[in-house]
Symmetry: C2
Subunit: 236 residues, 2 copies
């Protein structure tokens, strides 16, 4: 009796270097996918998250890691790409998500998923993973399930493979209904090294999280509720 | 009696520097839109079409012209971005469109429309114009009406303006059901200077059209059927 090898199933995973996308990558690997990670240098205020993405890609031994240069800062209008707009600092996680904040980058997930679709087509991948979350999130329109489903419908009409080979594209959002605490707990179970991740929108020099932006507040509450210490926070 | 000024209605127009996108731009202007043109340096084999786009934008006095740098060549797989894949040279226009050709660039219109959506959001534009055509075309999946409608549905779930201000996004495809001859005739009527446009996939040095790729064949037949001489062809 011989054991047949599993066929390679490639998947494209959007990897920002933050907590959510890293747990999403670990889930794709646990499901048996060969991961092609995709990151962007898109004019974000700081480059630390890209350094984190590169370390995570290496630590998790992905099949490939593509970094696309794309200056979304030319459009302006977001605190994440325009240094003249301050990043808001809420008093607590409860204040977050009541309206779409200035950290929203116009059409960012649409653009990132479109480029992931191109990479998926050239890698022969039917699966795209994105770590969006519609519970503990900042209120971005392009993190909602209805947006993801509409993108998937469009993607299945957009590509040569989808048309000629009936190659169905799936947009996988394994975190979309998890709380931040559940995301942290899932990552811990899958052996994610959270010390490699950076969630902060506005880190200090050296990539130290500010501790008070939306992303830091949500992360703190996530670790607290899950009952873990955040290994990325320097222990003074 | 005072005459009220027309309110400015901004529109984003994708402008490649070719015949179709230039006629599309002229249609948007005739409909009274203030045009924000958008072009891409996306790793295409030749840069002449960008030079054409810049001249057209200037000649038609658009409100703004944004050129985005985005290297789609990293994905490979297309004769338009990979110099090692030859551009096919059909014997006539009748041979074109039977299958999706190697000039297809993975997910190109999806990516271009996504970035147009970001520009539209920052310019306060509800209208995006793209010169796709589903009759005299090369068989690309992302030129079909069903793709455009699915993109529009997705776009209306994607952005802050769409959600907070019920700001409907429309993807306008005025050429989608025109023959190439009708596109040429429309451009002539609207005063398009076709000598500024370049359609060729594989021009000679100096931006002289090769005369035998898909795009050249379709353009030749368009001018012929419309009964005009193509002013962009050097008269030897």
């Amino acid at each position: 009796m011989s054991i047949l090898p599993h066929p390679v199933r490639p998947a494209v995973v959007l990897l920002s270097g933050g907590l959510d996308s890293t747990v999403c990558l670990a889930i794709a690997q646990r499901e048996g996918y060969e991961v092609h990670a995709l990151s962007f240098r898109y004019g974000q205020r700081h480059q630390y998250e890209l350094t984190c993405a590169q370390r995570i890609a290496q630590a998790r031994q992905v099949a490939s890691h593509t970094i696309i240069e794309l200056d979304l800062g030319v459009f302006g209008g977001s605190a994440l790409t325009d240094a003249s707009i301050p990043v808001p600092k809420p008093q607590s996680a409860e204040e977050i998500g009541r309206s779409i904040p200035v950290t929203y980058v116009p059409a960012r997930n649409t653009i990132f998923l479109s480029i992931a679709l191109a990479l998926a087509e050239t890698r022969g991948a039917q699966e795209i993973f994105i770590g969006v979350n519609s519970l503990d999130y900042s209120g971005y329109p392009d993190c909602r399930p209805e947006f993801i489903r509409a993108f998937e419908t469009m993607a299945n009409l957009a590509t040569k493979r989808a048309i000629e080979q009936h190659h169905t594209i799936r947009i996988n959002t394994p975190l979309i209904e998890m709380t931040k605490a559940e995301i942290v707990a899932t990552g811990m179970r899958l052996g994610v090294d959270f010390s490699l991740t950076l969630s902060c929108y506005d880190p200090l020099i050296g990539g130290i999280p500010c501790g008070s932006c939306d992303a830091c507040r949500l992360r703190q509450r996530g670790f607290q509720d899950a009952g873990f210490l955040d290994p990325a926070i320097p222990k003074v």
